[in-house]
């Protein structure tokens, strides 16, 4: 039975190994406290960063954030720096879309629910004690592949395209080819804003491919020369091209001064007035320290 004993021992060894790994993983934080003292920080910014994160110095605990995908770059960047300054804080960031953000914070599943639109009436009715904090302005633009010669569309054309009435780029002055529609899922605030302000609440063709985030939209459109979709202007980079809408270029400046009409504010929502870590985070984003993160995300801060 030599080999059988070997297998039994192996089973026991496997179990022990697994449990050890599990425990190591979960308990890995305990040695981390000594780490913050010896962190190497870039000398130049130490002084400035020290004051920015003072509000978090005494805090600890978990903060779960979910919702709008446009918010994610801002949230993740701020969270990373905050967590670096204070090792006892854990901030997790998830997506899901504005609808998910509102539902989850309303139900108490997360502390901050992000939405790329104002709360809907049904939501206010269903979750009466939500508090909204607008922190940025973002435009929503239709995007196409950078090689697509079509760079501007009128409102009527936009509506017709997304309704599935115009189906070929040639009809818009572009290269002949099928138009590939991409739209967002129903939880998306970006979709809500685009639908109400750019499409005048018109139909979106049911044949449109559905993607689940701003990032996914960018991935899809940047890979397909015949694609058209829509996303927050803050996320637009060289891999996609924003489409001029009714003669107005889709830039954040135009969004801010009102000439580009398809805009929305980015909101953080909490259940009731925020306290503790949640409050500190929201104050951080809304305050002077949050501006650089908002700008880096490509959005315009609201002062």
């Amino acid at each position: 039975m030599m080999s059988a004993r070997f297998s039994t021992r192996s089973l026991a060894l496997l179990m022990t190994l697994l449990l050890a790994v599990g425990l190591l993983g979960v308990a890995g934080c305990s040695s981390a406290d000594e780490d913050s003292a010896t962190e190497e920080t870039p000398a130049a910014d130490t002084a400035a960063e020290a004051t920015a994160f003072d509000a978090f110095a005494e805090l600890e605990g978990d903060l779960d954030i979910a919702g709008g995908t446009a918010h994610i770059p801002v949230m993740e960047a701020a969270a990373a720096d905050i967590m670096t300054s204070n090792d006892a804080i854990l901030i997790t960031v998830a997506g899901g879309g504005s609808g998910v953000g509102v539902e989850q914070v309303g139900e108490g599943l997360v502390e901050i629910g992000n939405a790329g639109r104002a709360l809907k009436d049904e939501e206010v009715e269903f979750y009466p004690n939500l508090v909204s904090f607008a922190f940025a302005v973002d435009g929503v633009a239709a995007v196409v592949h950078p090689d697509n010669p079509v760079t501007e569309l009128s409102a009527e054309q936009m509506q017709a395209i997304f309704a599935g009435e115009i189906t070929d780029w040639a009809d818009l002055g572009g290269d002949a080819g099928e138009i590939h529609l991409f739209t967002r899922d129903e939880a998306s605030g970006t979709r809500d804003v685009f639908w109400s302000k750019a499409l005048a609440e018109g139909d979106i063709a049911v044949e449109a491919n559905v993607v689940a985030s701003n990032g996914a939209m960018k991935t899809a459109v940047s890979g397909d020369p015949q694609a058209i979709g829509y996303m927050g202007i803050g996320g637009i980079d060289d891999s996609v091209a924003g489409v001029t809408f009714d003669g107005v270029a889709p830039t954040q400046d135009n969004a801010k001064d009102g000439s580009y009409v398809v805009t929305r504010k980015l909101y953080m929502n909490t259940k009731g007035e925020p306290e503790g870590l949640t409050k500190a985070f929201i104050d951080f984003i809304l305050g002077a320290d949050g501006v650089s993160y908002i700008v880096d995300g490509g959005y315009i801060p609201i002062f």
Partner: protein, 288 residues
């Protein structure tokens, strides 16, 4: 030898402990059913059923029909198995005499290895390669389509089908091959003229098992189909599978009709795959 008393006490204790473990498994499955039924209860009312069992998914206009997704899942799984099953039989034929004997072991080893490839890896590689390829070849559609998802799914379920057939033929082939050889039959004739007909119900089990597996997959469907909530009309059109639908809609409207549609979808999937699993194993056991 110790006293029989303490031994029988230990025996009894062990028996109870083990029995509890087995009972826990039973309870777990029952509770899965129970939870899903409880949360989809609203669907069982006339109003709910009418809403959820309809053909339009347009939540912004108040329609929450999941039927296009049900059809989408069935069509996708069927398509995938239609590709995977013949290929699987051919691979088994290759390993059981049609191909050179020394290649049989390596081929089956690779097939076994394929079971260790995670679905997300298949889906990831596929989403990077297939949509542009489909767009270029067919010059139609966005590349996110039934075809791409079906092909990827076929690769996923092929090893499952092969291994079920293999475990059946392994017992069968040694008995039949000698007889066939002595009758002067070629390996091809042995496999397709004898093995395949004789193992009919094992083949069916393998097919059904592969179908169940294809039906239950989420990531490939989510990443490759385009997720448009409409009935499949062409292999190059975008569709949405029930599994992907659950993944996409999950946390949207807790308690609202969209949410109920998700639980109804889950219940449907559970019933279909549960039935498949039960039937398949029963027939396999009868075979043995």
């Amino acid at each position: 030898m110790g006293s029989t008393d303490s031994h029988s006490r230990t025996d009894a204790l062990l028996r109870v402990t083990l029995g509890t473990a087995a009972a826990i498994s039973v309870v777990a499955v029952l509770s899965i059913f129970a939870f899903l039924v409880y949360f989809s209860l609203p669907v069982f009312s006339a109003e709910g059923a009418r809403q959820v069992l309809s053909w339009d998914w347009q939540p912004l206009q108040g329609s929450f029909g999941i039927l296009p997704m049900v059809v989408g899942s069935l069509v996708l799984a069927t398509f995938a198995v239609a590709l995977a099953f013949p290929a699987a039989v051919l691979v088994c034929a290759f390993a059981y005499g049609v191909g050179p004997a020394r290649l049989a072991r390596p081929v089956m080893a690779v097939i076994n290895l394929m079971t260790g490839i995670p679905t997300i890896v298949y889906a990831f590689v596929a989403v990077m390669t297939i949509p542009p390829l489909l767009r270029d070849i067919f010059e139609q559609g966005s590349g996110f389509a039934l075809l791409g998802a079906a092909v990827t799914l076929a690769v996923l379920v092929l090893p499952t089908i092969v291994l079920v057939i293999d475990s059946n033929w392994r017992g069968l082939a040694p008995r039949t091959s000698e007889a066939c050889a002595s009758l002067g039959m070629s390996p091809v004739q042995h496999v397709f003229g004898v093995l395949v007909p004789v193992s009919g119900s094992a083949l069916l089990s393998a097919l059904v098992l592969g179908f169940g597996r294809a039906l239950g997959d989420t990531m490939i469907a989510l990443m490759l189909t385009g997720n448009a909530p409409l009935l499949p009309t062409s292999a190059l059109g975008s569709i949405r599978a029930l599994t992907a639908h659950i993944g996409m809609v999950m946390a949207t409207a807790v308690g609202g009709p969209a949410h109920q549609s998700v639980f109804a979808s889950g219940l449907i999937l559970l019933l279909v795959t549960g039935t498949i699993s039960a039937l398949v194993r029963r027939s396999v056991r009868l075979e043995a």
